[in-house]
């Protein structure tokens, strides 16, 4: 998997995730810009996403929902706050009500940057949460698979804490 690094900051409540792909910067940018491509990777395999609106420009908004194995729907929204193609964009990502429109509550902030490297393109996404509560909510919606693997990593994290002691 082309993950380069992933750094969770428990205090600042941020996740900095870096990945590299063997593709041009324009191609990687398209993965976010084109809703049909975005749908192929935004949701977990058993919870595919459908973007019913996607205005990939500053001030633009998106509406999407993910569909679970039992047909249940988890709707969400984006507001694009900055676009500088194909280098950087920033967006807020929040939950929606059943009607698909934004629900009350603070969104999660995401800053995505793209860089050309010898091997192709590197992208870095920094996600900032306002509270642990919000992170918990986010997980319930976005995380349906891979839970066991994630839990297995905690032991590693705790082992690191011990080594640094």
């Amino acid at each position: 998997m082309p993950v380069v690094s992933s750094d969770t900051d428990r205090d600042a409540l941020t996740l900095t995730f870096v990945a590299e792909f063997d593709a041009s910067i324009d191609r990687v940018w398209q993965l976010w810009e084109d809703p049909r491509q975005l749908e192929r990777w935004w949701g977990p395999p058993s919870w595919p996403a459908t973007f019913v609106r996607h205005e990939f420009r500053e001030g633009g908004e998106s509406r999407y929902y993910m569909t679970g194995p039992e047909g249940e729907k988890a709707p969400g929204w984006w507001k694009i706050t900055r676009v500088d193609a194909p280098h950087v964009f920033e967006f807020d990502d929040g939950f929606s009500n059943e009607d698909g429109e934004p629900a009350p509550g603070e969104p999660v902030r995401g800053v995505v940057t793209f860089e050309e490297i010898d091997a192709g393109t590197r992208f870095t996404i920094v996600t900032t949460f306002v509270s642990e509560e919000q992170l918990d909510e986010m997980l319930k919606m976005g995380m349906k698979d891979g839970m066991g693997e994630a839990l297995g990593q905690i032991d590693g994290l705790l082992a690191d804490a011990r080594q640094s002691h």
């Binding site: 998997m1 082309p2 969770t8 977990p44 395999p45 642990e132 698979d145």
Partner: protein
Amino acid sequence: MVIHEASESETDRVFQALSDATRRDIVTRVMTTEQSITQLAQHYNMSFAAVHKHIAVLERASLVTKERRGREQIVRGIVETLRNASRLLTTYEEIWRQRTHQIDVLLSDDQGKG
């Protein structure tokens, strides 16, 4: 798998407690070996009272427990609390690993088509 649900005030206390470097260091030390406040205080360039205050913050966040033993106060870490905070961020990270994998598959399709 159910993610442990903590009340907002509880989680806020944990994150607030961990926002300080000295307190993070104290937590790291007492997670493996219990230590007296006197022992802990030797590691920091601050008064016993200041260290005591940091420990009180950690205690309120359920990150450590304090127990009187003779003339000493022994501090011990509560690993479960730390584990819960770590779990949330680590699990979110897993979402991105999965997305990255899906992007990779998508990009491989491009190459397959030539």
